[in-house]
Every structure is written in structure tokens, then in C-alpha cells.
Symmetry: C2
Subunit: 351 residues, 2 copies
């Protein structure tokens, strides 16, 4: 086997900390380290896991970390120099700033969905366009909502051909530990001007799909919920659709007897299963909701875990960009296995 790919995490929030853990589970990657500005509980656990912590300004940060009993391995730039590829998980818009550094040091980097498509030039979803990321210097893994849509639309377009999609994104207001975001008591049409940016964002990965999207923000932190309606070229039965979707390990269909009534039960199921951080990285589709109406329109509900669904896509994106695996199906299979995706399909689960 070739040398392991050395991955650096620039940014260690909701996505960054999960990508770091996911990298640690791959036998073809190693983690150079993570970037933090100050000690906190996330830095503390990272240090206890043995992750090297780098800082933008180590001279300034060192005393704070030292007081907390933690140590700094060096500067952000030193971390980047040591890496074969950087996964940029900085807050929205900062990735574009960081790009200058990656260009200066001539390092490939993955950006997250908070950045514009143009920052990277290539947007990525593993099932839909793995090949397009091969050998690229900059690639953007699309956002949690767009990832959820791409997985579903790719599968259905391949099987039946999609004429037109209409999707309603019922979005969580903030992440579970984000106490500064809202709403806490309103339904916010966001954006009000229609359609929302999600449709065009899907088109950065699947350009030929006709899609209208709207989004509202809601007072919940657990997951997004999508209501998806579409016209297809062929009209399948609902059983056909269910059988098609069950072929994809990153899509999970909830059977009614599990009695999962809400996004809260989905997360509770993750807790029961002992999943790390209760993460549900798969699209979670209610089997009962899958329906085909008299005009042949397909309708369904899917829940999307905003904190974690892009994690396997980031791992696959590393393999594609570095070229260590040129076969997308093989990369996805490896990622699914190492991260346990699809393993909680009731008919497959092993604990």
C-alpha cells in the first residue's frame, strides 16, 4: 500500500471534530493535527485523544493552553506544511480567506458547504460526482441539506429519471450547543425570495436536475426535515422506490414498527445504538411516507442530521482528490464500513 495520506484539520467545530475522528478510523490516512485558538472542552478531549493541537499564533495561545494543562504542537502554518491535504472546517466565509494560505503553500484543500461553489470551483457528493474531484486542488463538499438532497436525487434519477423536484427544507435553527442562534419561537421563511439557494446548490453537483426549493428555519436543534416531491420519467410503485433506495447504505428507511415518530426519536435511536455523538450520518427516510400519487408524483419525508451527514463525503473527497482511490464505489464502501454507515439498518445491525 502507498504511504498514508496525511490530513490536517483547519477548524475544529461541529464538522472538524467529526472529520478528525473519521480520519482516525481510516487505514489509508493519518491525522497531522487540528487547529484551535484557545483551550476549551473540545480542545481538552482532542488532546486526550492524542490529537496534536496547532494554533494560528502559538506564542499568544501557549500560555492559555499551558494553564489548562495542554500543549501546542506548533503553528497552523506548520501543520499545513506537514499535510498532504487540508480539510478546512473554519466558520462560513473564513475558508475563502484560508485559501490564500493553501495557494501560497501549494496544498490541496477541501472546503465545506458554507463557502461559495466558486471558492473551490468543484462541488462534491460521493455518489453523484466522485470522479470530478480526482486530482483537483480545491473541492467543496456541499452542505448538509444539499448532501441529503443529492444522495436522494442521484438514486432516483438513476433509477427513473427525474423531470422536476420540489423540496421543502424545514431547517434546525442552530446546532445543539449553539446558544446564540434562533429562532426560539418563530417559523422563519429563509430566504423569503423564492426559490432558495438549495436548488442551485444541488445543480453544482447534479447540473441537469430541475429543482425548486424553499427553506424555513424552526425552533429545533436536532435535525433538518425535508419534504420532497417529484415528477419522474418512469412511474414506479412505492415498493419499487423503497427497494431502489434500500440499495444505498447512506440512505436508511425506517420501518413503521420501530415507532420512530420524530427527529427526536431518530437521535434517541442513535443514542441507543451507542453511535459516537449519537450521529445519524445517513438520510433517514420514513418508509411509510414514501408514496406515489395518482398523477405519478413521488412524495416522502427525510430527516438529515446537519452535524454529521457530510462526514463520509469528506472522507471520500480526500481519497478522490489525492487519487489514492480512483473508484468512487470502492471508496464509499470503505468509508461506510469504517464509519458504520448502513450498519443500523434493522436487518443488518450488529452491535
Amino acid at each position: 500500500m502507498a504511504d498514508k495520506i496525511k490530513v490536517a484539520l483547519n477548524g475544529y467545530g461541529t464538522i472538524g471534530k467529526r472529520v478528525a475522528d473519521a480520519v482516525m478510523r481510516q487505514d489509508d490516512m493519518t491525522l497531522v493535527g487540528i487547529a484551535k485558538t484557545k483551550p476549551d472542552y473540545e480542545a481538552y478531549v482532542a488532546a486526550k485523544k492524542g490529537y496534536a493541537i496547532y494554533a494560528v499564533d502559538p506564542a499568544k495561545a501557549e500560555s492559555k493552553f499551558k494553564a489548562a494543562g495542554l500543549s501546542i504542537a506548533g503553528s497552523n502554518e506548520e501543520m499545513i506544511k506537514k499535510a498532504d491535504i487540508i480539510v478546512d472546517c473554519a466558520p462560513e466565509g473564513i475558508g475563502e480567506e484560508n485559501k490564500k494560505l493553501y495557494e501560497k503553500l501549494n496544498k490541496p484543500a477541501i472546503f465545506q458547504g458554507g463557502e461559495e461553489h466558486e471558492v473551490a470551483g468543484t462541488s462534491f457528493n460521493a455518489a453523484a460526482n466522485y470522479d470530478q474531484a480526482i486530482g483537483k486542488q480545491f473541492v467543496r463538499v456541499v452542505s448538509c441539506n444539499t448532501t441529503g438532497l443529492c444522495r436522494l436525487l442521484y438514486a432516483l434519477d438513476k433509477a427513473y429519471g427525474i423531470k422536476k423536484v420540489r423540496a421543502t427544507m424545514m431547517r434546525r435553527g442552530g446546532d445543539p450547543n449553539d446558544i446564540k442562534r434562533g429562532p426560539i419561537n418563530a417559523i422563519v421563511p429563509d430566504p423569503i425570495h423564492l426559490p432558495s439557494h438549495h436548488g442551485p446548490d444541488v445543480n453544482t453537483v447534479l447540473p441537469h436536475i430541475k429543482i425548486d426549493t424553499v427553506a424555513v428555519k424552526l425552533p429545533t436543534t436536532l435535525m433538518h426535515m425535508h419534504y420532497v416531491n417529484m415528477n419522474l420519467n418512469k412511474t414506479p410503485s412505492r415498493e419499487d422506490v423503497i427497494a431502489t433506495l434500500k440499495q444505498y447504505p447512506r440512505i436508511w428507511l425506517i420501518p413503521p414498527w420501530l415507532n420512530i415518530k420524530s427527529t427526536a426519536d431518530v437521535i434517541e435511536f442513535g443514542r441507543e445504538l451507542g453511535r459516537p455523538r449519537n450521529d445519524m450520518m445517513e438520510n433517514v427516510i420514513w418508509e411509510e411516507s414514501v408514496s406515489v400519487d395518482k398523477e405519478g408524483e413521488l412524495n416522502l419525508f427525510q430527516a438529515i442530521h446537519q452535524e454529521s451527514d457530510v462526514i463520509p463525503e469528506n472522507i471520500d473527497c480526500i481519497r478522490a482528490m489525492t487519487g489514492i482511490e480512483k473508484d468512487g464505489a470502492k471508496s464509499m464502501e470503505k468509508t461506510n464500513k469504517t464509519l458504520g454507515l448502513g450498519s443500523f439498518n434493522p436487518w443488518k445491525l450488529s452491535l
Copy 2:
């Protein structure tokens, strides 16, 4: 070593499923099984963990379980007959009904805080009154809020003597997956008539403590928050108090640098640490909040994880009632070790 104590779980909700997992971690106990009425995701995971599932009416339930690919080991009553002790985790008020069955079969049973003190006659907190449970047939582990108060008050009363306590319980509205409870947009004084029942409930364990309590229900699911004020016989410095509380593994003091700003961060820390179900079984006290005013009154904030803080107390209660360990300190030490309590004190954590 004597034979292992055979424990049956009658009820498998928020508390029951955690007690079952905790029993599995003890080398002096075995799990006979759990009781469920129908298959759902909790039953599914229980079955995958290898827990035997019993049903009140197996003939009626069997077809439902069979359709879900799960099997039933027998009736509730058969389960109880096989057990040395039953942990009753049935919904509030049902425990009192179940008591008739335990009496008929002459089996000892532990009730939860949702039952009245009189159902058991003895109420329990491991640190405060372990000895009183030794050899009893029926004991009640007090509720999550009362457990949190008892741990704190026992420690401070022992060190300084308590004159009077005033405690404000800011309660979560419902558990994370409980979509039928509220409030979702109000602050509910509950009860309105003061004081609340929590003070008298503390007195079922610590009868000599003078205490006034009030409670409000809030739109959150994660944890309860207590503001506790008290007059002490001796006036310690805040540093004294912190040093005293740090001696108890079931009490955790958050240092400021961890940057834990809310109950959401406490739970997020549990997720980061990889704790099962992100459970924080310890009283979580903000070190910064511990203060002694000019009149010598002590004030502090503590967060209480309603889903899990009573779990170690249930394990200790099994040991006390069955007499397999007559030394409370030894039982607590064993329970703390097997469940990892106190292990995330920043100065002690090993991952």
C-alpha cells in the same frame, strides 16, 4: 464470591434501559431480562444487546415481536420469578400497582422517584443513607432532582452543618424524545403553591435538613438547573467549599477554561467524551458560580441530568437491599468505577 445477583427490569424507558446497561457492567450482578409491551427501536436495540425480552401478555405480544424479527422469552411474571430483585422503572404511579405482584411473589423491588415515599417506606440516596436500605424488601430511589440535592446537601452538611437551604429547580419540560410534553413556550411555576414537594422529598432521605424549594418548568429537554442558596453553621471560604465538593466523584466542578456555558455544552461535552447516550450522571457544578456572600450564605448553580443521575444510585441500592455489599463507600466506589463516574474530571480523565 457469592452468586451473582439476578436483576430484572420491569419497565424499559428512560431509566430502565440505563439501569439494564449499568447492571451489565457489574461483576456481581446479572440481568434476567427486561419487560416490554411492544416492539420498537428500544426493544430492537435491547434484543441486539442480547437482553431477554419478557411481556405482560406474551400470547398477545408474540405476533407483533415475531413480525419485527424479535422473540419473547416469556411473561413478566416468569421474569420476576427468576429474579433476586426487581428494579421497577414503570411509568409514574404504575410501580404502586406492580408492588402487589412483588408482594405476591415475595420479591424485593426498587421503585423510582415517581412513586410516593410510602409505596416503599424507605427512600434512598447512596451517600446519604445507604445503611437504611440494607435488607429491606422495598426501597425507593429518589427522583433526579432530589438525588442531585441530596448529594450536594449531604456533602455540605457533613462538612459545615446546614442551617437552612433555599433551592430553585429550573426543570426541563420533557425528556429529549418525549414530544408530548411541554411547555414549548412558557415558564410554568409548578407547583404554584409553595414550597414545592422537593424539600419534603429531600427530607425522606435527610430528615434533619431545613429546606424550602420552588420549581418551574421550562422549554428545554437537556437537563435541570438548580440554583441553591444556604446558610451554614460554619462559614467556609469558596475555596473550602470547592475543595470539599471535589472529594465526591458524583459531583463534578467545571473549571472556567473548559468554556462550558450552558446545559447544552454539558451535554455536548458528554458527546465529545463518548459517554454512552451522552449521559452526565454527576452533579455538574459551575466552579465559578460557587460564592460565599458577606453574611456567609453559600450560592451556586448545578446542572442535573434527569435521564441518568439516578442510575448509579439504583446500582448501589441493589447492593444494599440484597446485602451483597454492606459498606456503602465500597459499593459507591465499585459503581463509580464500572460506570466511569468522576472519570471526566479534567485532572483525571482517561479516554
